[in-house]
Point group: none
């Protein structure tokens, strides 16, 4: 005779999902802070407030867990990008929004940068099997291509711009600055993360990207 009402099964299900999500978040932070090699399963369990064994129960092993974390990370950024509605504003505005969004996202999600770094250190072997990741990412390039095309038709943008190249450049301008801010700050003896420095960087990047795309 169950003491709780009929929702029990649902509850249990929801618990399982919640546990998995908690683990995933804890793992993401741990991987982001220490890299794949430096991350500790013990610390993840502690961060999640759950038994270490449970991580293996749900994710099999460290490698598979990392893969799950990566997929989740891409899922998140691409979902946010979709919300920018780049096709509903003027092309120039669309590009500016993308540059700003990318900058903001990397700034707010430093873990995304280090996760990418780890993935690349291991030659993206964690993405190879994943078709989901490719599916997730192609819409972005399609959208960017459309923006460029509309700008060109309108007469504001130059022609012949490859959306993949442009996306990589937009991302790279933010990425290198933020991912390497520690070494760069040490090297150039100047705080690159002060509010002023950040504003300057954003302005610079807009100038660079728009300077390249806009017709003279």
């Amino acid at each position: 005779m169950p003491r709780v009402p009929a929702l029990a099964a649902d509850e249990r299900l929801r618990d399982a999902d919640r546990s998995q999500a908690t683990i995933l978040a804890a793992a993401r932070d741990e991987f982001a802070e220490h890299g794949l090699g430096g991350a500790r399963m013990d610390r993840m369990a502690e961060r999640a407030g759950l038994n270490k064994r449970l991580i293996y129960y749900y994710f099999e092993d460290k490698e598979k867990l990392f893969q799950a974390v990566l997929e989740q990370a891409y899922l998140d950024i691409r979902e946010q990008e979709r919300k920018l509605n780049l096709l509903e504003v003027a092309p120039t505005e669309a590009l500016r929004r993308l540059v700003e969004f990318t900058w903001r996202y990397y700034l707010d999600h430093p873990e995304f940068l280090t996760l990418l770094n780890s993935a690349n250190l291991h030659r993206a072997r964690h993405l190879e099997g994943s078709e989901r990741v490719r599916e997730m990412n192609s819409p972005l390039i399609a959208t960017l291509g459309e923006v460029l095309e509309r700008g060109r038709k309108e007469g504001t943008f130059r022609g012949g711009v490859d959306p993949v190249q442009l996306y990589v450049s937009i991302a790279g301008l933010s990425y290198f600055y933020l991912s390497n801010s520690h070494t760069l700050s040490a090297i150039f003896g100047r705080d690159l993360l002060s509010a002023k420095a950040r504003n300057e960087r954003l302005a610079h990047m807009c100038d660079v990207i728009l300077g390249y795309v806009l017709r003279d």
Copy 2:
């Protein structure tokens, strides 16, 4: 009592130097391939063909070894940059040379990228103590500043360009593309390292940087 005749003092020294250099190279490769957390002292010794104990003899511990590797890496790239003689050619040509060199260097030294990534994952704590690194790097910014100033005076370059921002952008355009080439290739389903793709990227980057600096 050694059975082989005593070596001349400087001969022994030369052996010592050679051993250190061998270790450093082995360590660089190991750190580059596996990251700081994933690198194994055992493998370094094996790569170097020397006893593991010797690594400790010369470099004290893993952290210090990583620091030494990093310093060596910066030393090398900055030395190569110096050879570009950017002040002896026209400003536009100087910028183009810098873009090309950076691209080329990252392409030829993929280990440099992963070393930087590792250093940043650990918040550059390996550079903090090192004054040498700052000293190494400032001349580059000074030179770039001079190039920009001469371009501006000449009338070819726009004014108000921060050499640090520009350097970060130049580096970032190559860095992101190459450092993340594995994930990007997986994500966009397109080989970013084919000869054709590489040429296109280089052309694109020159366009972006010069498009930004040149006066319309």
Copy 3:
């Protein structure tokens, strides 16, 4: 409150019996393949297609489960032996039947051999409590004793043959050959399980046993 109509009491029981039998068979195979130490409760559940928790529900723990498996194994072989009706044929024929049966049974039930090995590795502590096992086994020796006695009276068998010794010898001749067939095959570089080899072994064993028992 179950959504399916209540089962008749005996139907539920039958399900319970079936589950227990399924578990027992799965456990027997798992113990036989991996030994007591190497057997995995998880795998048993999987083999049985039942929830792991159920094994504990019915058998309390791994040790008790092993004991149950062992008892079942003895129950089976002794029951088969009873069916030989050794007292209904001539003594010589009875012995030949026992040798053949033992050989055949070990050949068809390799799991019996490994279960015995495991039991002995653990010094038979799984049988100590079990009176059932002794009860099961004594009739065999009694029967064999009778066969020998009849043979002696008849004049075909020599006297003074201890039925326990003889039974151990009959079992041992088959057991060692089959239980160690892998190492022996490896050691002597000759397949001991080919049809020809098996026939030869059976003939050899009959010769040995009858050669010993029969009066010259």
Copy 4:
């Protein structure tokens, strides 16, 4: 300036050998007592009075260690068998010696029996790679074949006896009795290891083997 005399290098070597031998003995006992699955690396280290890490240093992993233990075990019994000098005595005496030796050896080395059992549980995969084991074992069969041949020529032995079959029978008669003495004692309710029982068994086995081989 070394404080110990020039033998140092030898000393060290001997230490390494001694450590390996100590580990091997500890591992043999542990495997024999608990089987491959139940053996604990920790306990081996404790038994050996050496650091657990050292076991991995010398033997790589548990599987390889087991293999080394097995090879050592075969090496030992075959070496002892060689010392029997079976070709220097009369054929009947030679067989009796072999039966007695086998019995004695199994009695004195119960670990040999359980090691064999473990090896067979794992289908002798630990011997597959090992050519040494085959080499070790073939001389025994050759010797036994010669004994049988000489007995036949002499007129005391029957012809057509396969030395492999005979060897397996000799071993099996002792093996089953001793390896399963625990279950057999429990089952038949009679102590099979008392001095009296042991003497009776040995006499029985000689009777069985010689009864088979000798011409009537």
